[in-house]
Symmetry: D2
Subunit: 470 residues, 4 copies
């Protein structure tokens, strides 16, 4: 319980946004967009804006609402702005790694913000150093922006394409220059990225459509794999591309857990997909029970789907403290033994004497399920049937998601039987990969490597399935 | 939209806690308790603790997790501690009004934290000044603690009873001294206050049982109207009392909106009462519809109750941004016109082409209903039937709840028909006071003055029903 | 060397100021006045101002320039303001003890700032508690302001006089009310306090005339012992008084060390008095030497006097780091052994091969003399004759000056011979009390208790000469 | 009077230090060294240290004592450390430009801190950008460190020499790497840089010997023009060099104003040189007067020299507020008219009826002389003879000193007669360049371009004498 808010879930790395607002308040709009992307990263936030010839940037550790003041918004004048919200996968937070990352180049100032992970970052870094460059941080983003600074090409789209052709991995990114603003995505389409039209003129691109909807955007479309989109005052246009991968590899975990339920990508609303996962789970693994409850908040859509499909009543069984935020106060051993909990409380009268289906969206480290089952038991639930709306997470992600060490993954550190005993439920079932893919209308083009080890490309120092299966 | 988080709801004033933990980590336990009471006040927080002979205090503006550091916890050593979390009803936040309020008296140091409002605070204040006292803040709490300092009696329970006999209004408070710690409640029992036993020894009292449950407490019981409970290492005991009022006046709005769903008082679980309100609303005002949705988060329990009673499917229609916190960044007029919203996004595929029952727990200022109805319409809902799980709020509260000016109350500033037109729903119905009381098993002893103007006592300068009805 | 800036000197407690500026910028003027009084206390600063009916206050830990922002100045509107700068004598700094101290009374708001120490504070405090008051700090100032709140009298001058008649000790204070602003001084006239006329209208009172000069004041006069002066837009007027003590007891150490050289009181300029001390020292204890140097900065005036009287050249031998401020970085033992010093460096070529007279203004704890003598020796001085421009400090001060424990005083912990050996000088002489008084034209009415134990009144728990002589 | 502390003097840019302390507390020693160099820059400070393989850095806006905490010292472990204190010449302070500047290179991490100004920085910058580099700040230091990153050579001394051969201008710098630490100086020897041996092992290099003396160093020697010194645990050794310029150009203004009086360079103690300037001034321009006083603090040495040479008594006439620090509080026009001053107060009795020689070390913008003369007149001085211990400043410095715009220089904006009238003195004389050089034993190798326009090299866009003389 070292982080009282830690739910044993994976951590996504970032959210990005780009806004072109002819009225000149692009940074302010980017602020609201980042606010809607806050769930993708709470460690740091930043915005860079261009006003005529001058690029300005503001970034720091903290939540979006903490990092920016009204005065910052005034300073970050201009019609074009990009923003970033970050969740570090490294132990210690440092403002030095906050994004956007900006440099002066021979072509003028450039700022870049990205979501993802380059698997060849170390080689790219060494190549830059060998050429005599000096690097001031350990972040992939600096490597990316330095590659851009030296890339060949007659304009930014050409230079961006040249740089992208050297990058292997997951990357959805936005680039701000004085000449234009761009949003682009890796050839596999791993991390989400969409664009839309601002009412009254201008356009925006963002990691999730929820940020675009918050800005009142319409006319959404996804940035395609390998595609470079220019985001400008007249809307968005395709400005270039590199070849898309033969087989798409969109991260399926975005549907399971990361994305906000109101986001839409690949044509599927996230809430709807989760309800389908829940319904499929009900068909695959029905339960004799009196009610269906969810691990709040990420499992509610799946629980509603399960309840409707199984014609069992949906109810709430837990209260989750809404006042999210880091605290450094740790309970003493004595308080811990008393059962002090900051995450969840149970609603006793809702479950007393009832047979409960408990829906969780996923089991990663599996540290939350046991305490929740014990809370239900303590409140008098007579049976508890755990149903998980995704397969067991068994493989690490090399594309920018921190699943934890494989020794921490519940499916690696213990058998299913032992895990059932550990959490103390009466039964435990997972949604199979097949049923999950069926819920997406059989669409191929998704990466489900964390469930099945089927990586979209070979990973240096991490040779895929063989090396990591447990 | 001056406060992007403002939902047009009333604001409760405070949460209090007292913890006696023989292990000496009372302040740390109080911290976790306050964290569970954070919904009762986000402006300021404070903890006072006694270690042997010395009383120490730490309070400041901010959320509980922001105010206290690990070092504060070390400094606030001792087996007895009280805490407070505050929502100011006044415009400007000031650390000077943060609680607990502590002074040195002839009987040693005293700290007090309270929830409520004295209607005779001005008279008490003048009486103190006339006796030659100097007062350093404008808060009722200083008046209360100064009254205690000069109260007659051989011990603290006697002095507390003597002071209480001069106080008119709502007050649930905790008092920390070197001789003992006390929790007491006004003779009408207006604001909630309960106590429980800590596992392994010690006891606690808190505004809501959710805080006691967070500490692992068992054996809950309410502090009775007019009762003074001593909270000590051997548990809690009745230490004194003043006469309870002939007729209890427990605040019914705690069930409607304030309390956390997992809290229990007067023997009723809040989640269960809200489900009953929803079910009663379904019986009183059924709707031809396809689904039931809630204004998140406070209306979910009532919506589940309405859905189950009406045998309509419950679903989610809105996403509420979880990253609560003050921001001072305001949207420009241009952004506002584009529809930028930080509060809610809609889940379009859930409601498209559907007839929707939208449940709100209450209508106070009525500023949220219209935007939500418009979001549903924009997402393609074919009909929208607004159902409110409480009567219209029509009267101010003089017992510590800030309902806003009566000119701001929707039920005062406009007729029901005009309000229906304003929000743009297809129908609008409220739960009658009678049905609300029936849901509480016909129990009398509740104050529903904000709905019906039936105040428990005459209010100086505010002569009750006559003066305020609209 | 726990405080790298500690020079082994006594610490004065406070500086006060009151400004009446018809233009309405009294707080801003008070700010500049406090800035000139900064040497009297660096722990905390505060200003209270009255604008029409409203009193506002701002105070915090820190230097004057750190505590106040431009916005504070705007907030502290009004034509009357008082200010305070504080040096705590207690170990831990707390904003709670910062001044001015303000309360609401039956006669309206009152703020008070003082310099000094009440020897009967404990009794006054107990009397207040016994009457049923609650006190929120441990400071004498709260006791003073609470006494004022309950004092009898038809107006503030009468009430101030009534309160003063109960106070024993050193106190120079300023009081701000809505009806008027007052400056008053104890009957012995122990701590300095003067007033003057602002150019263009208005008046001011301050601990030292250097603050009045900084404001451009003219027409200085001292507030007499026991006198109450009203400071208003029309100038200053005597508003009341209590009987002055039979024998004045102005603190002679103000001339020795505390006051700024440009301040004037009792008709003597401080720089001039110090030059006289130096000249007298030269007559009493001449030295065969080549040059005269000072311990910077407080001994420069005396060194100039000694040099002129002895017809020896004055020169500088030390550089003192100007960047005064607290640092919490401590040298390691290894660095300390290397001789790392933050206070003083020597000017080698000035003293090499020379016979040097080293003037110090006083010897209190005597911790600086040794290191300075060693610096001179290390730089090649052939002889070092230490001359001290005041007698040895041998008795504690009970009137608000922290001389340190008597066990720390050089004159108590060691004999003169041993101290000479400890510091390593070739000779050591002190100015006799007699010569010091002669330099003040034989004026009686000074307190020199720290030198001769002759206290102006009996001190409870500290019976004067007998109890403390070493 | 926009900066109440502005004395109309030029601003030096920086102080640097490098410490090799085998005991591992190099950063702590660097802290004390920077503290002694604080007068060279108060805007920002930083320290970088190497512990085995890891380089760590801490830098921020603020005074040395404000920037570093005890915890920083613990973090900055290691036997080698460099530090920097900065005074920005640009309007707005930014932590981004704080030094040391560190990057990762193909040869490992490098940190650099420098004092000076490259006149070909723009060309160097463009060359880097053209090679495809990205630069993240506008500072020369980043250009320098990036040049180092790509410099050819088998080891750091070779690479440093290669980089130096491309740099034109004034630069005294220190470089920290994992292989060694270096201190080097431009071929003209413009800015000072010396090294010394730490007692007990190790060595240090610093901008001024006062910092070395603070660390207890002995065996000082200057880093020669063009020389590269390695600073290590075994002392300091010559590690390389580029050709020194045919004619040295050590900044003579270091003697006039910048350096601390206890520093020594080129074999001359600064205090001694200033006394010689004063004595020469007395010979060139004697005055019929009663006393000699100084503009504190930088003119005291010269005033003592003038007094001794002219056999007039030296005395103090001004008190300068010691509590240096930025304040943002501005006096209102009304206060300004009243004569509110934060800088200086006069000592009236010292000068009343006297003929005073007022010594200033230099006249740059000339904004202080007038107010000081008026203070003396106001205090009753009968005659005031202004004597300036250096020639009039008439030319800008291109080597890192901010003299202000030439339109601001007193010697450019007005004639000598008009300036005398402006300040209101009875006479005004300057030390001639010739006498200044004679005071340095006729040594050539000094740059006195600010006085005579004789620049050591042609300045691009600033063609030396012709273009700037007024």
């Amino acid at each position: 319980m070292s982080d009282p808010m830690d739910l044993g879930k994976p951590r996504e790395e970032c959210g990005v946004i780009a806004v072109s607002s002819p009225g000149g308040d692009a940074a302010r709009a980017a602020f609201y967009g980042l606010f809607a992307l806050q769930h993708r990263g709470q460690e740091a936030a930043g915005i860079a804006a261009v006003d005529g010839r001058t690029m300005r940037i503001r970034k720091d550790l903290g939540l979006v609402a903490q990092v920016f003041s009204e005065r910052d918004m005034d300073d970050l004048a201009g019609a074009d702005a990009i923003g970033h919200t970050r969740y570090s996968t490294t132990g210690s937070a440092s403002a030095r790694n906050a994004q956007p990352f900006s440099v002066e180049t021979r072509h003028g100032p450039v700022a870049l913000a990205h979501n993802g992970n380059l698997v060849n970052a170390a080689e790219l870094r060494n190549a830059l150093l060998e050429k005599g460059a000096g690097l001031s941080s350990g972040s992939d983003t600096e490597v990316m922006v330095m590659t851009l600074a030296s890339a060949q090409g007659k304009d930014w789209p050409e230079r961006i394409a040249a740089a992208m052709s050297t990058w292997v991995g997951a990357y959805s990114f936005v680039v701000l220059t004085r000449e234009g603003m761009y949003a682009a995505r890796d050839p596999w389409g791993m991390r989400p990225l969409s664009c839309g039209l601002l009412p009254g003129g201008g356009a925006a691109a963002a990691s999730e459509t929820c940020a675009l909807a918050t800005l009142g955007c319409t006319g959404f479309r996804e940035v395609g794999p390998g595609e470079i989109i220019e985001v400008g005052r007249d809307g968005f246009t395709r400005a270039g591309a590199i070849s898309a991968a033969a087989k798409g590899a969109a991260c399926i975990f975005e549907y399971v857990y990361f994305s906000r339920p109101d986001s839409v990508w690949n044509g599927f609303g996230v809430h709807e997909v989760r309800r389908r996962f829940g319904a499929a789970l009900a068909r695959e693994f029905p339960a004799e029970a009196d009610m269906v409850v969810a691990v709040p908040d990420s499992s509610i859509s799946a629980a509603i789907g399960y309840a409707r499909e199984s014609r069992l009543p949906y109810d709430e069984a837990f209260v989750k403290n809404r006042y999210i935020g880091r605290t450094f106060i740790q309970p003493t051993q004595s308080l811990r033994e008393k059962g002090v909990t900051m995450k969840f409380n149970v609603l006793p009268e809702a479950v007393r004497g009832r047979r409960v289906v408990l829906i969780d969206d996923s089991i990663v480290r599996g540290t939350t399920a046991g305490p929740l089952v014990r809370l239900l038991r303590g409140a008098g639930a007579s049976e508890i049937h755990m149903r998980v709306a995704s397969p067991p997470v068994r493989f690490p992600c090399h594309m920018g998601v921190d699943m934890g060490d494989s020794a921490e993954l519940a499916a690696c550190r213990t058998s299913r039987e032992a895990f059932l005993a550990e959490i103390g439920a009466d039964s435990l079932e997972y949604l199979p990969v097949r049923a999950m893919r069926d819920s997406l209308d059989g669409a191929c083009g998704f990466c489900s490597a964390c469930f099945d080890g089927d990586y979209p490309f070979s990973v240096s120092g991490a040779s895929g399935k063989e090396g990591f299966e447990c």
